[in-house]
């Protein structure tokens, strides 16, 4: 509606809202700022470099997987299988590392990404060529991949002492000042940002998401794009799996159980539209940051750990409702 009716006779208030709506990240940035100020007043220990490094460390994996998830959601799909992909790849990689203690770390990372990409391309194949709706396909592989974790490990798990030090340092080492994991997440974000905004394929992802038929008429091979986003989502999950096993120094059968909904939450809170075509990398990073800050702040403010999940859920709802409210106000003012 707004796109067809450009605003006329804008009051200054509506100009502000109009600007807000155009930079969808502004709403969530405001939300984060309010939260940071409020929490800092309650407990100044929140606004310290150490604490923020802690938050960044906690959200790195989430950010990587959420970026993959975002590409999928932009095409009007969803990838529920990421958590099981992480679980399966983490188990396989950890086991390979346990058997080959002096394996090169680069090789391990590449192996994880390749395994993730294979699992992701399986999703892509049944969605594009089998015409299975994404939510069904990935719901199916969510339980298939999780089942394979149990089958693979026979119910056993990998402990910290079974993994070499070099592997554990992959995520936590700080040769560049920040923990490696944070740097990897930043690099991934930059690559995805460049890919989505400045490459032909990246723009085609948005085209397919906002109007699949028009995209096809414009000569975009829709199926290839959709296949690609699931492959990339799997690839991101595979990378995250290696980091997960390295950070928590273990691989269990229930690794990352339920994580898929967190990645969707980070994307959606970051302004990615579930109906496709809309979503930015900075938005998703802010979404992941908001989730990380909420988790951290609840502990710092001293909310009982048992109530933290409830507060987290409530804040996610609030963020989504506020976003919707701002958008609808803008639409009413400008219509």
């Amino acid at each position: 509606m707004t796109a067809q009716n450009p605003p006329v006779n804008r009051s200054s208030f509506s100009t502000v809202l109009w600007t807000l709506a155009r930079f969808r990240e502004a709403g969530i940035t405001l939300f984060i700022l309010i939260l940071v100020v409020a929490v800092t007043i309650r407990n100044p220990a929140f606004l310290t470099a150490d604490n923020f490094q802690d938050i960044l460390l906690n959200i790195s994996i989430l950010a990587i997987v959420a970026l993959g998830q975002t590409m999928v959601i932009v095409t009007h799909g969803i990838d529920l299988s990421v958590s099981s992909t992480i679980g399966l790849v983490a188990m396989m990689v950890a086991f390979v590392v346990k058997q080959n203690q002096d394996i090169s770390i680069v090789l391990v990372v590449l192996l994880g990404m390749a395994l993730g990409a294979v699992l992701g391309s399986f999703n892509g194949l049944i969605i594009t060529h089998g015409k299975v709706p994404p939510i069904i396909a990935t719901l199916g592989t969510l339980s298939i991949y999780r089942g394979l974790v149990f089958y693979y490990s026979q119910g056993t798990w990998i402990n910290s002492f079974e993994l070499p030090k070099s592997f554990k340092l992959l995520s936590k080492g700080t040769p560049l000042g920040l923990p490696n994991m944070v740097i990897i997440a930043i690099v991934v974000a930059v690559i995805v940002y460049y890919f989505l905004n400045y490459t032909r394929t990246g723009r085609e992802i948005y085209a397919v998401g906002s109007n699949p038929d028009a995209a096809q008429f414009a000569g975009i091979r829709k199926d290839r794009i959709i296949f690609l986003v699931y492959l990339l989502s799997g690839l991101a999950a595979g990378l995250a799996a290696v980091l997960w096993a390295s950070r928590f120094e273990s691989a269990q059968t229930n690794t990352a159980l339920g994580f898929e909904l967190q990645t969707v939450a980070a994307s959606v809170v970051g302004g990615v539209s579930i109906s496709g075509g809309v979503g930015t990398v900075p938005g998703v990073l802010l979404g992941a940051l908001l989730l990380g800050i909420i988790q951290n702040a609840l502990t710092i403010v001293g909310i009982s750990p048992f109530w933290q999940l409830a507060a987290q859920g409530l804040l996610i709802l609030l963020a989504v409702v506020t976003d919707k409210w701002i958008l609808s106000r803008v639409e009413r003012r400008t219509a």
Binding site: Q99, L257, A310
Partner: protein, 375 residues
């Protein structure tokens, strides 16, 4: 307002009844149900051959009550999915309601009062979902993803690391009891009665027709004068109530409540509905199909359990069945349309993919060999 909307409803009821293409509709969808019946017979025959304990009335009676909570939550889920929405929060809502009941029970409140409070809270939770979907107009996937965390969080808030137990026998009858003189569990009877009720509402009332209409074309339905927002509010509220009811039965069956009760069941509920032929994008599906798929999943899991296959590994079979149930009909249609023309490129791509997946599984088994050797 109420009078005029009643008038509109009355009018559109006759319209919809006249327009309903009943015969082709039923003819088309009974096919999937017959396939499910065939699969059920196949599973029964296979399992009877593989294990002597399969056709044992006592075993079947015990295992049937394991699936009734999923079934009870599945009934309103079928409604919701037919309208093109989804409710991811059901299992969390169930945990929240059961935890409130457990908390009140621990505080010494009469168990039936506590159960009533649980039902009320679950209904409220459903209403909040409905309000956000119908009035605030947020996508149901987003809303129920948020309440999925919110309600489970409240469950932890209520009980923390505590558990509620020592429920009176009159209450545990809900989950453990059998109908007098038979081996049929009470919860199965309750589910069947509810399923028939929900089935009648879906297939024999104007309300049920509206659900299909919303799923097929929501805007057209709104312009036809159907109170779509109100219907959505009712559906999600109903889903909350049924989730709370399922929570009580699960608590009664376990004889205790922990805040993580029923975690992850939402995916089982959706799997059962979709395998039953309910179209995930809305507009299609029958209650009979959903009920049959619940039976199929129950029998498959029971049979695999008897063969000593771990619960999570059973998930591989259920997941494959879910995907194949949609993949195979699609592929069959594709093949007949294309007249099986030979094209070089698709074949090359197919071989490439096959090679990649084969390589994956070679690696899978090769790297797994030491684990098998150790155990």
């Amino acid at each position: 307002m109420t009078q005029s909307s009643a008038l509109v409803e009355g009018k559109s009821q006759t319209l919809i009844n006249e327009a309903a293409p009943r015969q082709p509709f039923l003819a088309r969808f009974q096919r999937w149900e017959w396939i499910l019946v065939g699969l059920i017979i196949l599973v029964v025959i296979l399992n009877t051959r593989l294990s002597p304990y399969f056709l044992n009335a006592l075993n079947l009676s015990r295992t049937s009550s394991d699936f009734m909570e999923i079934g009870i939550m599945m009934l309103p889920m079928v409604f919701i999915i037919i309208t093109g929405n989804i409710d991811l929060s059901v299992a969390s809502n169930m945990g929240m309601s059961a935890s409130l009941m457990g908390l009140l029970h621990n505080m010494g409140v009469n168990i039936w009062l506590a159960a009533l409070a649980g039902l009320a809270l679950g209904t409220l939770g459903g209403m909040l979902n409905g309000y956000l979907v119908a009035r605030v107009k947020l996508p149901s996937l987003v809303v129920t993803l948020g309440t999925y965390a919110f309600y489970r969080g409240i469950a932890y808030g209520f009980l923390g690391d505590q558990a509620a137990r020592d429920y009176p026998a009159a209450f545990t009858y809900l989950g453990q009891g059998r109908v007098l003189g038979t081996l049929i569990p009470f919860s199965v009877v309750l589910f069947l009665v509810l399923a028939v009720g929900f089935g009648l509402v879906l297939h024999r009332t104007a309300f049920g027709r509206y659900l299909y209409a919303i799923g097929n074309n929501e805007n057209a339905t709104i312009y036809s004068g159907v109170p779509v927002a109100k219907i959505k509010l009712i559906l999600f509220t109903l889903s909350g109530f049924m989730a709370a009811l399922a929570g009580l039965i699960l608590a009664a069956r376990f004889g205790s409540t922990r805040p993580d009760i029923g975690t992850g069941l939402e995916l089982s509920v959706i799997t059962a509905a979709v395998l039953g032929g309910v179209e995930i994008n809305g507009g299609n599906g029958t209650m009979l199909g959903a009920a049959l798929s619940l039976l199929l999943i129950g029998l498959m899991r029971f049979g695999m359990g008897l063969l000593n296959i771990q619960g999570q590994v059973q998930g591989v079979a259920i997941g494959l069945l879910l995907i194949l149930s949609i993949l195979l009909p699609n592929l069959a249609r594709n093949l007949s349309v294309r007249n099986l023309k030979f094209k070089r490129q698709p074949v090359a791509v197919a071989i490439l993919f096959l090679a990649v997946f084969v390589l994956f599984f070679i690696f899978f088994y090769w790297s797994r060999a030491p684990i098998v050797a150790a155990s």
